[in-house]
Symmetry: C2
Subunit: 201 residues, 2 copies
């Protein structure tokens, strides 16, 4: 039995979104499962002394906006540039882990729905209300989730996930680990495919 | 007549080296020429407030070393991690422009030779002596080049090239521009191929 592929991402990361639309199908072709692990880039950037692409120098920021859209077209993934970017994503990430404790498949559905709400429908996924609506649309009990989002347990869970991600060398999103080998960026998908096909190259 | 593809790079950039081994053949498949433009990342990083990958946070630096080698294997390009990295490359870049003023093809041969000396043979390409030897190996008059390297004209030429690169939005290496469309990184080669094949997507 092989270990699942680890997929670390932030719900506000465009390249994380592109990866999210591809990684499961690729893994399935090689009879592999994927563990999705939302994290907070704010925490990661603070720990590593980094910053979002669009808040780096103006030339890189301008290029990033071009590259997000072009990479989405190249990968055949629907993408509309969000009007608010980046956004804090702790509500979405906490919801993910709360759902994951009950139903893995539902948590995965929720993650796709959040990413598409942000990068296709331009919704403000930082707002608790948006997250609650998205979850309710998947049949999740709204009151139960609203309470859970404030619980110390779920806050601690997300903090721990961020700490664990940092401990295994995550410095950005998406960060994929296949049998110990790290791949950073949606543009590493062809290398991940080759790695899965050959067992390493 | 279409405009040449612009290829900006630093001789100390591993991803620039990977691009240098692929871009001409790709362009030729589409009847396109490539203008090679060595620049100094030191100047670019100072102007944009950035830093080399391996001098950024430890997690990213460690990953970069893994990714340089894996990307080279993935692209089928010989690569040995240089023992000194990064290096200042003004002598190599000035030599390139001096040669380019006399013989474009020779300048291209020299650029390949410098990159391979650094990323295959682990030579110290920052040293004037190494650059002179590499050029002499291609039949270049050593004394002529030694004098030229100190000339105000060739120093000004490289400064101007760096300024022009910054003016068109270059913030790293490699940076390729196809008909006004910017592509950053050796990993954008598949997108460049698609762009050349389709005229934009």
């Amino acid at each position: 039995m092989t270990e699942p592929i680890k997929f670390y991402f932030d719900f506000s990361s465009p390249y994380g979104y592109l990866m999210s639309e591809k990684i499961d199908a690729l893994a399935a072709q090689h009879d592999r499962k994927v563990q999705w692990r939302p994290i907070l880039l704010g925490v990661v950037f603070q720990a590593t002394g980094s910053a979002p692409l669009t808040l780096q120098n103006p030339a890189k920021a301008a290029y990033s906006l071009v590259d997000f859209e072009r990479s989405a077209r190249f990968m055949g993934v629907p993408y509309n540039p969000p009007s608010r970017f980046p956004l804090p994503t702790q509500n979405a990430a906490r919801t993910y882990y709360w759902l994951h404790g009950q139903d893995c498949a539902l948590a995965r559905q929720f993650a796709h729905a959040v990413y598409r709400a942000y990068f296709v429908d331009d919704r403000d996924i930082s707002a608790p209300e948006t997250v609650l609506e998205i979850a309710a649309g998947l049949g999740v009990d709204r009151d139960g989730l609203e309470g859970a989002l404030q619980s110390p347990e779920i806050k601690a869970r997300l903090r721990n996930e961020c700490d664990e991600a940092l401990a295994v060398g995550v410095f950005g999103s998406p960060h994929v680990i296949v049998d110990g080998e790290p791949f950073f960026g949606a543009d590493r998908l062809p290398q991940i495919a080759e790695w899965l096909a050959t067992g390493g190259f």
